[in-house]
Amino acid sequence: MKFENIQQQAQREWEAFNRLERPRILIGAVTCGRAAGALSVRAAFEKELATRSIAADFYEVGCLGMCYAEPLVEIGLPDGQRVMYNNVTEKMVADLVEDVIENGNPRPDLALATLGDAAIEGIPDVSNLPMMEGQVRIILRNAGLIDPTNVHHYVARGGYSGLARALGMMPEEVIKEVKNSGLRGRGGAGFPTGIKWEFARRTQNNTKYVICNADEGDPGAFMDRAVLESDPHAVLEGLTIAAYAIDASQGFIYIRAEYPLAVERLNLAIRQMEELKFLGENIMGTDFNFSIRIKEGAGAFVCGEETALIASIEGRRGMPSSRPPFPSDCGLHGKPTIINNVETLANVSEILNRGAEWFTRYGTEKSRGTKTFALAGKINRTGLIEVPLGITLKDIIFNIGGGIPDGKKFKAVQTGGPSGGCLPEELIELPVNYEELTKAGSIMGSGGMIVMDEDSCMVDIARYFLEFTHKESCGKCTPCRMGSQHLLRMLTEITEGKGTPGHIDTLVKLGETVKSGSLCGLGQTAPNPVLTTVRYFRKEYLSHITDSRCPAGVCQELITYSINENCTGCRVCLRACPADAITGEKKELHVIDPDKCTRCGTCMDVCKFDAVVIS
């Protein structure tokens, strides 16, 4: 079939999808939605509709990014009314079916936003929600709006037009287009994508490879998962364009094993591409041949590093090797190979569709385009956002993310995961781009943003990250292997109240040594969380060391639990305490025996009167 015919069919399907001849229910049901209970909500809807003999269409769509409000359900009616409901529970379903679907009452009290053209009094339009305002969605252009299992939805919204355009150009022109867009790799390092492709193009070889890096090992980040589950074709199209540009005929997607739904979506999407001749031999009627295979990771953070990833695909231990030679000269099986991140490739397909010039409208001079961020931790609106580069941290955390829950104070934000740094409140006006974040001692990284409030201890956070990098260090080079072990030991000592004033200087000195002496990015960046917390939160380190005090009340060895006069003597904590450390008579003030208390925190969790306090 010709591409125009596919497009026409796609258009027809897309129109039918949006015609709403009968009630249409869209449920955000990728991993995040499912974790919030989306599938049981769907089942409840189906049951309720069946009892009332109402016919409706169901679609499981991707992630709109408003994970804090999940499960999210959009109900569309034949009169054009389209309303999204948040935090839907099974209990709410009967009301929604009766009021909204049967009686056409949009229930503004339960609604989050309207979609489409029909405005409804008392419900804001989705683009006016504080979380959506200020976002520019290029990578997430289809997420939450299309059925990710239907390739025609993707095509109807401009999908594969980029590939069709690329195949009509010379490979060099494609590379030039990507170079002109200013796109930089979104996997962390920010290397210009077009230049990487040019290196691989120039290397002469009959066999070349392209690899999509979907390892997403940064704990606390989920951008790539959301894109792959919500819009897999956007990434696959980008990978195919990359292959054409460098003249590769085999591609791989290296994806972490913790993402089974993404793997399922990719498998399906690849089959659809093959059927439509977007993959295989003579793609779109040209003489370009290309196929894609999925390789599942086996649980090693370091395999996100390019050379380790290649070793892992080759069936070896995922240990990095020194570069040069770079993979673009000598990669998988010694052949020229390019590796690009999921998000980089999702940008590529749209850049080829809309042109480099369009892309340069977003972002800053040196950091073009947009970036997705995964907002998590102590922030009101957790979820996935996409913003133009150059936006300030404050805009992200307070305007889009809605600030800190429970009236607590913002303390710090970790960008770049275990390779990044903890940025304090003083830097809240910092523009988010590659250069500024590096200057502040952090990195852009892949886009995880963990927000912390006054209840997070910065020494504990640094210790947490070092524990992670120490465990994940492949052990090949001494500065990383031994350095991370000693950094971790010292940080643990500080959190246990066994630190000395000399610890801080040693941490900094050793951290610098590990950075400069390590072979790969893991070791080169592992000390960043320590160095930034020492730089911005030295006082907190000193409290631990000189006063044996953890100001945030986190470090177990340095805190004591006690009960204050709010206690009503309800005995709930007494029964829950695993250490039998609580005594007291019914309806009288209870007391914790500090010698018996193991500081497990259970009493604080169960007390309904905020009577248990940490000091």
Binding site: A35, Y68, F222, I313, G315, A374, I450, F468
Partner: protein
């Protein structure tokens, strides 16, 4: 439940699904683990001669990756996320509750082979942290109380 076993024939069936090439080593191991729940000594022997890779070399690979295990897991696998978002939102309490309730440490299996407990470094559902996964179902917005209820419901 007792320890699961796998026949040589099953192993050969898995081998046949892959090219006879070193690149297939990890996918083969993953296939074995999917079927059997763990990597057995016998499986390593068979793979070794099939791919012409020394057993030592295979053990080197298996131990490098955290996904693989050498012991039979329980009927249900509880994985508690220890990723950053979950750490900040107090996953330690959930892990403590799980270890207390099941009477085992992360990486272990109860003696009746009913439960295995693991820690994992992020499931990508950080926005709903703290997160646990029981078998293949992700549960978000966990608390120490909720995990106890979930485990009770399975028993």
């Amino acid at each position: 439940m007792a320890i699961r076993e796998i026949t040589k024939q099953d192993i050969r069936g898995i081998l046949k699904e892959h090219e006879q090439h070193r690149d297939s080593l990890i996918p083969i191991l993953q296939g074995i683990q999917k079927k059997l729940g763990y990597i057995s000594e016998e499986a390593v022997e068979v793979i070794s001669s099939h791919l012409n890779i020394s057993e030592n070399d295979i053990y080197g690979v298996v131990t490098f990756y955290t996904q693989f295990r050498f012991t039979c897991p329980g009927d249900h696998i509880l994985k508690v996320c220890q990723g950053t978002a979950c750490h900040v939102r107090g996953c330690k309490r959930i892990m403590n509750e799980a270890t207390k309730y099941l009477g085992i440490s992360p990486g272990e299996t109860t003696s009746d082979y009913k439960f295995s407990l693991d820690s994992v470094a992020c499931f990508g559902s950080c926005a709903l942290s703290p997160v646990v996964v029981i078998d293949n179902t992700v549960h978000g917005r966990m608390s120490a109380q909720k995990i106890k209820r979930l485990l009770k419901a399975i028993e």
